[in-house]
Structure formats: C-alpha cells, structure tokens
Amino acid sequence: MEKAIVMNTQKFSLHDGGGIRTLIFLKGCALHCPWCANPESQKREIEVMRKQSLCIQCSAPSCQACNQSSAFCPTGAMAEIGEWMDVDQVVRIATKDAIFYEATSGGVTFSGGEPMEWAAFLREAIPKLKAEGIHVAVETCGAGPLEAYEALEQEVDLWLFDLKIADDQEAQRVLGASFEALFSRLVLLREAQAKVVVRIPLIPGYTATKANLIQIADRVRSLHIEEIHLLPFHQYGEGKYQALGREYALEGVNPMGKEEVESFRGIFEERGFRVQIGG
C-alpha cells in the first residue's frame, strides 16, 4: 500500500471545493513561493515546529531555546509536522464526515504542498473515496509529473488549479518553475474536459499586478474555463515562519484592501469569467 507524508487533516473546511469538506494536506512542494501561507508544507520531510504561543516555559525561557524533544513537550508547542500514513489510514479519516458531505454537497480535497507529487498515493486513495460516493477535489499548482495528471484526470471531480506568475522568466526566478510547464498541466486537464476552477493568489509585489493578471486571464480564457477564484493576500502564515525558524519575505506587508481586490475582480469579469473572492 502506498504511503505519504500527511501534514495535516482539516475537517469542517468551508473552502476549497464547496460544501463541508475534509482537507488532506500532503507534505512537499517543488515550488518555493515566498508568500506561501503554509511554509510547513513545503519540505517533503517531517520537521519540527515551535509555537511560542503554546509554550508554558516548563523547561526553557522560550520554545525556541528549548532542548527538550517534541515527545516531551506537554502542550504540543514543539511538535513534529507531518506523519507517514498509508492509503487506508487517510481514507479512513477522509470518509469519517461522509454524512456531512452528502448533506452539503461537500467532499474531500487533497491539498499540499503539491499533492500531485504523491501521484501513486492519490491513484490508490482517490478510487477508494469515489467508491464511497465521495466528491474529490485536488488543489494543484501544476508542479506534479505530467503522467500523474493523465492518470487522474477522469477520477477527480474538481481541480482547483493555482496560477501565479505568467511571465516565464519571472516564474522561474520567484517560484522555481516555468509558467509554461505548469500551464501545460492545465491544458492537459482541459483537453480531457476535466472540471477546473482556476485560482490566483493576489500577492502584492508578485502576482497582484494588472499586467500579470491580464496575461493569466487571457491564457485561461483560451481554455474555456468559466470560473476564477481570487485569493487575496493575508498574513495568517506569518507566525509559521517564525515557528519554523525561517525568513519571511512578506513580513509586515499589509493584507489586501477590499477596493484593490475589487479592481482586480474587474479584469476577470470583463473577460467573461465568473469570479469568486476567496476559496
């Protein structure tokens, strides 16, 4: 049976696919977006996070300075992020709330990291969920292997496809991948007539420029995709960088104001997209 590093599972998620959903976050991502709100999802390995807010200073003046193991930590301030789970373990968690999925047209969403980097795992897990009648969504940025998309294009009910920076060179520099390469997965899915919603994070100084968004809009339009979700920048990830002991490129940047978000919405509506703000 396949295994994957599961970063976290989140029940009662109201985003990322509709209805009440369970989100399964798989750890590891080929991209290194500087704004990533889940930096603990990037490395394909189990790592330790230190959350000062939970620390009761039982063994050291602060969580960062603590020499105890995460197994000792009484409150979970210092905790291992990620756990190897096999397909059946994940399926068991993912089917727990089936009664809620049914009542609200919800389901299960695989997210990450980049879940498509765990293609073999998904190929085993998703049919098991489908057999239980569960709606399955996958959130991807296109960074998984091409054959993985080919294998899953018919199995997945909804693809949440993130696009970020349309300029190829800029994408290489900032994200660590070519836009064309990422976009080719989207093309593949659309050719297979898979249901896709494109999602664009609005990040000041990176993605949230008129030129970038117009470029993305035009490329997506050519694929006859109808729905776009714009995800305004927020600072919920800030504390996590600290907890991981990492630098954060967007420290102190203000969350995006409503007006600015609305102006970006216009770009897409003018081009005939149905636009939703937030996931």
Partner: protein, 758 residues
C-alpha cells in the same frame, strides 16, 4: 419606534422588583381554611389570589393579562419554602445573578407576617423531615442533587387544545358532570370559576381604561379587547385573537397557582392553526394576526422567575419556560409544518427576546423550506430556535411503552425536557446525578486497591448503582410530598385524564407518569478515564494512588503533568472512537440503572442528560480530575457537549462523537451546545451549510442541538459596555437569556465554549 419596539424597551428598562401579592393572598386564604383538606385549601388559596391581585393594562397592549403590575417582577411561594427568601431577603437586590429589588414595606410584611406563618409549615420542612439518612448522605457527597424541594413542580404541558376547544365553561361542565363528584372535582371547579371571575375583572378594568382615552383608534382597540376578554371569561374562543387571549389568561392563572417554572406551551402551531386559518378565510388581515403573535411574545418575557441564589446559579437568567415546539409530524406520521409554524419564526425574528423558547422538530419529511427558515432564524444569533430530532425521540418514547400516536405528539417543556402535551407528568428535573463526582469518590476511597482498568470501571459502575438507588429514594420522597402537600387543582382541571379519574396531576392523574433524572459529566468522565487508562495502566507512568494524591492537592507542583493530560491524551468530542466509547458505555449504564426504578405515581424513572447552567455549580463540587481539569472548574456544558476548549477537530467531529452516545435512551431529554462564528453562516452558502449541518445532525440520530451564533468579540464588547447591549439575547443552555443579565462566571463560560469557524 413601533408599538412592539417601545414595549420591548420599556420591558427591559425597569429594574426587576419583587411583588409580594401572591404570597400575601395565598397566606390570607390559608389562615381562613384551617382544618379543611389540602385540595380545598390549595384551590381556595388560588381562587383568593385570582380574586385579589391588582390587575393592570400597560401602554399600547392589545392582549390583556399581567402577572404583576410592574413588568418582570418576581412572585413568591413561601408555602413551598420561606427560608431562602428569608435568608436572602437583604441580598436579593444586589446578588450577582438575577437581582430583584425587595422594597422595604413588602420586605417588612414578609419578615413580620409571612415568614413566621410558614416557618416549619412549608413543603420544604415536610420533605427534609422525610429524607432518609442514607439519601441525605448521598446528597452530602454532592453526587446526588435533589430539586424541587422548595418550589412548585411545573415542567408540564397543559392540554391547551382541550382548553381552547371547551372554553372555561366547557371545562367546568366536564368537571361538574363527573359522577361521583369528589373533593378533587370540587377543588378543580373552585379554581376554574375563579379564573373566569379573574378574567371578568379585566373586562371591567378595560371598560374604565377606555373612558380615559381620547385617541379614537385606541378606544376602538380597547373596545375590541374588552369584548374578547369578556367572551373568553366563559365561552370557548372562536377566533385566533380570542384563542390567544384565553391561552394567555390560563398561563397566568397557572403561575398564580404554583409559581412554578416551565408550564410550557407545547405544539402551539398545531392547536392554534385552525383558528388562524378560519380567520384568514374570513378575510382578516395577516398584519393584524401577526401583531397578536408579537404581542404574545412580548408578554411571555414579562413573566420571570424569582429563584434562590443557589437555584439562579443552575438556571441563570430566570428562564420561565414558555417553550413552544414547531413542526414535526402529525398523528398519522405526515409532515406537520403549517403556515403558523412559519409565522411564529417570522414574528419571533422581529421581537428577539429570550421567550418564547422556540424549538423546531425535524425529521426526514421536514420540507427543505422549513429547514431553511429554521437556519435563517438561528443565524439571528439569539440561540432560538433549538432543534429536536423526531428520528430518535419518537423511537425512544416507543421504547418506554408510549403509544405511537402519543409519541408522535411529543413536545418540550422548559429547556429540553421531552414531554407529551396533556398526557405526561414527567417530573423532569427532580434530580441531578454527577457522574464525574462518582469518579472522584471512587479514587478517594479505592485508588490503592484498584489494579486494572477493568477493575476501575467495575468499581465506578457499582458506585453508580448505589447512588442511583439513593437518588431514586430521595426523588420519591419529594414526589410524594408534592402529592400530599401541594396538589394543583387548576392545572389538573385542564387534563382530561385527571378529570376523568378524579386524580390530581401530582397524584398520578396523568396518562404517563415519569420521573426524570439527569446524568451529568459524560464528557469529563470519558476524558478522565481515557487518561487513566493510558497513563496508569498502559504507559505505567505512575500508580493510580500516586495520581490520586496529585489530584488531591489540585495538581500543585505538577503543572507539566496537567498540561500533558490536557494536550497529549485524546478527548471526547474529536471523533475518536476509543474515548467516545467510554462515555457511551457509562451513559448507557446509567440509563439502564435508572429505568429499573418506579416512582410513587406508578411510572418509571427516565434518564436524561442536560445541565442547563448547572455544569458551573456541579463543577464547583468536584475536585481536580485526571482530564487536566482543576478543582472546582466547571464541567462540560450542556450535558452532552465536549469539555470547553477540548474539541479541536471542529463541529463535524463534535457531532460524530456525540452521536456515539445512545440518544434513544435519553428519554427525559438531552442537550448539545454548538457555537459558530457568525462568518460561518454568511450569505446563501452559509444557510445551505447550516441546513446541511442540521440534516447530518438528524441522520446521526442526535436528540437535540442548539447554537450560539455570536462572536467572542461581540460578547467581550457587551461585557465592557453592558448599557449598549441591553437586548443582546444569547443561548445559555436549553433556553436563551439576555447576556448582560448573566453573572460574570456564566458569561465567561459562554465565551469559552469553542467557537467553530472556517
């Protein structure tokens, strides 16, 4: 400001006072009836009150009937117990929870006249004399708490359908045509005739009021009201207006009789809708009919209960229990939602006060539109309506020998107590059983001798058995004392079975006679036992005795252990079968113990699990426990809710865990609190989500659920600026209350209950 907004404001503007009138006239009558039977004395006392209390009509009112001249005044029943009033007479106006001003003249009258008269003669005296020593010992451990030793029983739904169909004249005819005529019938007849006279007094007063008015519109209104009042003083109502007016007068009269909590309204939408439909057919305007409803909702908030300081801890915010249940299914099993069910939710949304305490019955046949309307009303954030599940409650009643037709007609009294209108006297709140306290006592007495987890479980079960038996004995003493010393002839006269069998409600006159006893602390017990199982018996980190010693000193010097117990061991409420199964096992055991016993009215004991706000005082009675809970900290709220702050997996996991408990067994009622952040329910998506969540709740066979939809920020702001939030209504437990009228401790409890969002 419209008429109702004005009335609502003036209702909340006055400081609450105590009105001594009821106590005065009751006592006056009792002095004159010495030597007569208790049935007649009680009937005559009620009649004297009805003939003597000052009556009033407030500005703008279109329904008559005020229990007290000043709004929201407390009335007293020293015949039940004069002691707490005497002890608290000087602090009632300043106590932290539910203060009432006791003015000097009336306080003096109480001290000098009423207290000396009732001292050593009250129901409380009689009960305490009869309590056996071992029951008293069980009370002293705080495992068992007996209720209703010092107040009227209430907790019943009169047969309002019958009342409206017959009118007072018809009720009297039924009583007086029974043969042979008994003293019980005579008592009923005395009270019914007094109700009729009482209503006629209103007719005369309105006539006088009318002459003082210049505004022709108001004069016309008063003339209509007078006409209606005079009619319903004897005749059966023909119109919706008349039906509501009679309904309200009967409610007030029942208050004078017993001053008891939760003489509830039952399925108001079912028995009132024929009148409404007839009026609509006759061409009456929808607006006018809705105004009558809104007026009634306001009036239901005018009646508040004066409780002792101790009782106010358990039932903070003076809930009266004008509980109305909407929807459900009819006698044939078809969907029973009607036009009035919807109107009630709509008109409530305009008034938004703690009463009526609305509940909605849902089942697989409930229309989507009614689910939506329910979700929209819940979203308003007042905690109303609460939701009850036909899919588990009806089978539960069948399992207790109730007929299918009767079970389908269930309704709710008080907070969440399951009852049958006009057919069931359930003594729903006769006792509380503190399951977590059992664990503490077991550890204190047996820790050194318990060598395995199984042994611990068995010892706890044996202890539950012992104390359930004592609780039953104690409850039966209280039950018997009410029958002997506090019959309620007026209430009994409204019940067909009581009239036909010539028996009072308190003496087994109802078709079904239960006694309801609550098992409290399931979540804490699950968490504590799971922690012991792991820490002591599997990981062998310490012996049970060592753990007990740490608990005995309230974790002093062991904060690391306490934190580990809180954070590193699974807890009830997170969809973890291992933990949830412990709670399920003990709750089932408790239920099966309880139903073996009979009460004094030929019925059985019924298990329930709801705390109202009792989880705070019940927690005060329990020392530190192995779930990381410190001594005197509250227990899990509600009854079935997870411990505050320990449910980390969100509201779907809460339902999954709670559904592992067998709700079919909890035939006395149960309670589950869930708190959502308002953002969760925003927009159309929010309504759909709530509808779906409710359907999942229904399919998971959970009995009851209620919601608080208000953000912690709003509640904090209300604490800081109570003057700006004088009408912020929130859910306490099984009932709603005005947030700023709750004491700090309960406010904090409500804020702390995990708020689920996104």
């Amino acid at each position: 400001m419209n008429r109702f907004e004005k009335m609502k404001q003036s209702l909340l503007a006055h400081p609450r006072e105590i009105s001594i009138e009821r106590a005065r006239y009751y006592t006056e009558s009792y002095r004159l009836t010495m030597g007569e039977s208790v049935n007649l004395r009680r009937a005559k006392a009620t009649a004297h009150i009805l003939d003597s209390v000052e009556i009033s009509l407030r500005e703008g009112e279109i329904l008559a009937g005020n229990r007290t001249v000043k709004p929201r005044s407390g009335i007293m029943s020293p015949e039940m117990s004069p002691y707490w009033i005497y002890e608290e007479r000087n602090s009632l106006g300043s106590r932290p929870q539910d203060p009432f001003v006791f003015n000097d003249t009336e306080r003096k009258e109480f001290e000098e006249d009423l207290y000396p008269y009732w001292k050593e003669k009250s129901l409380k005296d009689k009960i305490e004399d009869l309590i056996p020593a071992e029951v008293q010992a069980a009370r002293d451990t705080k495992i068992v708490k007996l209720n209703q030793t010092d107040k009227g029983q209430g907790h019943i739904i009169p047969d309002f359908e019958r009342v409206l169909k017959l009118g007072i004249i018809g009720l009297l005819e039924e009583v007086e045509s029974q043969s042979p005529q008994t003293e019980i019938h005579q008592a009923m007849s005395i009270t019914l005739r007094a109700v009729s006279r009482h209503i006629l007094r209103y007719g005369e007063m309105i006539e006088i009021e009318k002459t003082k008015r210049m505004d022709p519109k108001r004069v016309e209104e008063l003339e209509e009201l007078r006409h209606i009042v005079v009619r319903v003083a004897t005749e059966a109502p023909q119109t919706f207006y008349e039906a509501v007016q009679l309904f309200w007068f009967i409610n007030l009269a029942l208050q004078y009789e017993s001053n008891a909590s939760s003489i509830s309204c039952g399925r108001f939408d079912q028995y009132m809708v024929p009148y409404l439909e007839r009026d609509l057919k006759r061409g009456l305007s929808e607006e006018k009919l809705k105004e009558i409803l809104k007026m009634l909702w306001i009036k239901m908030n005018d009646v508040v209960l004066l409780r002792s300081q101790e009782s106010a801890k358990y039932f903070a915010g003076f809930p009266t229990g004008y509980t109305i249940i909407l929807g459900g299914i009819d006698a044939e099993g078809c969907d029973a939602v009607n036009l009035l069910s919807e109107w009630i939710l709509e008109t409530y949304a305009e008034i938004r006060l703690p009463q009526p305490n609305l509940g909605v019955r849902v089942n697989e046949r409930t229309p989507e539109s009614f689910f939506r309307k329910t979700a929209e009303t819940i979203r308003l954030g007042t905690g109303i309506p609460q939701v009850f599940n036909d899919e588990v409650i009806i089978p539960g009643f069948l399992n207790r020998g109730i007929s299918l037709t009767d079970a389908r007609d269930y309704a709710v009294v008080g907070c969440v107590e399951l009852s049958l209108p006009g057919k069931l006297y359930g003594l729903h709140d006769i006792a509380l059983f503190n399951l977590l306290k059992v664990l503490e006592v077991v550890l204190q007495e047996h820790a050194s001798k318990i060598t395995s987890y199984r042994c611990l479980v068995d010892t706890i079960k044996a202890t539950i058995q012992t104390y359930v038996k004592r609780m039953v004995e104690g409850s039966n003493v209280v039950d018997g004392a009410h029958a002997k010393f506090a019959p309620i002839p007026l209430l009994s006269s409204l019940m067909e079975e009581c009239v036909a069998t010539s028996r009072d409600v308190t003496s087994g006159g109802m078709k079904y006679n239960f006694s309801g006893v609550q098992g409290i602390g399931t979540a804490n017990l699950s968490d504590a036992l799971f922690a012991i199982k792991r820490l002591v018996f599997e990981e062998k980190q310490m012996s049970l005795e060592e753990l007990q010693q740490i608990l005995a000193v309230d974790y002093q010097g062991e904060e690391i252990l306490r934190q580990r117990l809180i954070h590193r061991y699974k807890k009830f409420g997170n969809d973890q079968e291992e933990v949830d199964a412990i709670g399920a096992e003990f709750l089932r055991f408790y239920c099966e113990e309880v139903v073996q016993y009979e009460n004094t009215r030929g019925g059985r004991f019924m298990p329930g699990s709801y705390t109202v706000s009792a989880h705070v005082p019940l927690g005060e009675a329990v020392g530190a426990t192995p779930d990381g809970r410190k001594a005197r900290e509250q227990l899990a709220d509600g009854g079935l809710s997870p411990m505050v702050g320990r449910d980390k997996e969100g509201p779907t996991a809460v339902l999954q865990s709670v559904s592992r408990l067998d709700h079919t067994l909890l035939t006395n009622g149960s309670l589950l609190n869930v708190k959502f952040h308002p953002a969760t329910l925003e927009g159309e998506a929010g309504i759909k989500r709530m509808v779906g969540y409710l359907k999942a709740y229904m399919r998971l066979k959970i009995q009851h659920i209620q919601f608080n939809i208000v953000s912690a920020e709003t509640l904090r702001a209300a604490q800081a600026h109570p003057e700006k939030y004088s009408d912020l209504v929130i859910r306490v437990a099984g009932y709603s209350a005005i947030f700023v009228e709750l004491n700090k401790r309960i406010q904090e409890d409500i804020i702390a209950r995990t708020e689920h969002q996104l």
